[in-house]
């Protein structure tokens, strides 16, 4: 992931902090946001160890609470979604981070933070790890507006790589060509290619499972 919000947002942050009613210490430090290559979720991370998975999950939760920019940037990538309090539009990944950096300071008593990592025993058997958490936090506008309560849930999914590291899955963006595929039909086994469905009509792809 490449993020370079730090430099781009610096003027904006300075202006916000210089506003007459700016609350003190509301993000005085400009977060360092550099490229995050690969992923090392916890010290001595072991993707087959439940405690290790939990530790890395909790580390991100703490990062959220403490406004630690780099892990947050990693969590809130393109595929992540977060709903702001009523009146503010829901934002995704990069946008969220920009909004967080430019407009709002998090005030999150850690005990208000609830994590739900699903069943780690299941995670360890699978080629991926999902991190999801319920959160309750208070967002305070840097320009001195009223604090706003927010709660919701976020989820990020990582795929296990052959070397044991985990990487975030990215989907194609709107405007990108859809990845082509050919798969067997559920019954009968006839092959259906995406290319065969294109040409005349739009195509709707519905991905899902039973549980």
């Amino acid at each position: 992931m490449k993020l370079s919000f730090g430099a781009a947002l610096l003027p904006l942050i300075l202006v916000a902090c210089a506003a007459p009613d700016a609350p003190e210490a509301a993000g005085d430090a400009v977060p360092h946001v550099g490229p995050v290559e690969g992923f090392q979720p916890a010290e001595n991370f072991d993707p087959d160890d439940v405690a290790s998975i939990r530790e890395s999950r909790d580390r991100w939760v703490r990062a959220f609470a403490e406004g630690d920019a780099e892990p947050l940037a990693f969590i809130f990538q393109q595929e992540a979604v977060m709903a702001w309090p009523e009146g503010l539009p829901a934002v995704t990944g990069d946008e969220l981070f920009a909004a967080y950096t430019a407009e709002l300071a998090f005030d999150v008593p850690s005990e208000q933070y609830i994590t739900d990592g699903g069943d780690p025993r299941t995670m360890t058997r699978l080629p991926w790890v999902s991190y999801y958490a319920d959160y309750t936090l208070t967002l305070t506008p840097r320009d001195g507006g009223d604090p706003m309560a927010s709660s919701g849930r976020f989820m990020t999914r990582f795929h296990r790589q052959p070397d044991g590291s985990l990487e975030v899955i990215h989907g194609p963006a709107v405007g990108d060509p859809a990845p082509r595929f050919a798969l067997n039909e559920m019954r009968g086994g006839e092959e259906t290619a995406l290319a065969d469905l294109l040409g005349e009509k739009p195509v709707v792809l519905v991905f899902g499972s039973y549980t």
């Binding site: 194609p172 739009p202 519905v206 991905f207």
Partner: protein, 119 residues
């Protein structure tokens, strides 16, 4: 998938104007018990087929294909645990939901398809 009925209704209402395809990917919650049966992650393509049939039986009549055991298509689309994409006839992605279950939105997807059809 939290709105099987909505999906089926949308398919029935729009199947003449767009090509629908369901891609069965993988169980989001292996180990859960559904209708008295514990659902496990498929380890063979036969198991995957059985799960896919369970998933769609009586509920969904969309043409359905099975992702392979390596879940390559799911990964290519970041589709876990469920997700809808709307493509134009040239195969360009014009709309996608955020990954479910929090982002799954049949109504928004249907609106996106209508906008595309109106172009």
């Amino acid at each position: 998938m939290n709105s099987v009925v909505d999906t089926e209704d949308w398919y029935q209402a729009s199947r003449d104007r767009a090509n629908f395809l369901m891609v069965y990917i993988e169980e989001a919650h292996p180990g859960n018990t559904v209708a008295g049966m514990e659902v496990h992650a498929a380890t063979t393509i036969e198991e995957k087929q059985a799960l896919a049939e369970l998933c769609t039986s009586g509920n969904l009549s969309l043409p359905t294909v099975l992702d392979k055991l390596d879940n390559a298509v799911e990964i290519a689309y970041a589709a876990f645990p469920d997700r809808i994409y709307v493509l134009d006839a040239d195969g360009v992605i014009r709309y996608k939901t955020t990954p479910g279950p929090f982002g799954w939105d049949v109504a928004e997807s249907a609106a996106a398809l209508e906008r595309l059809l109106a172009e």
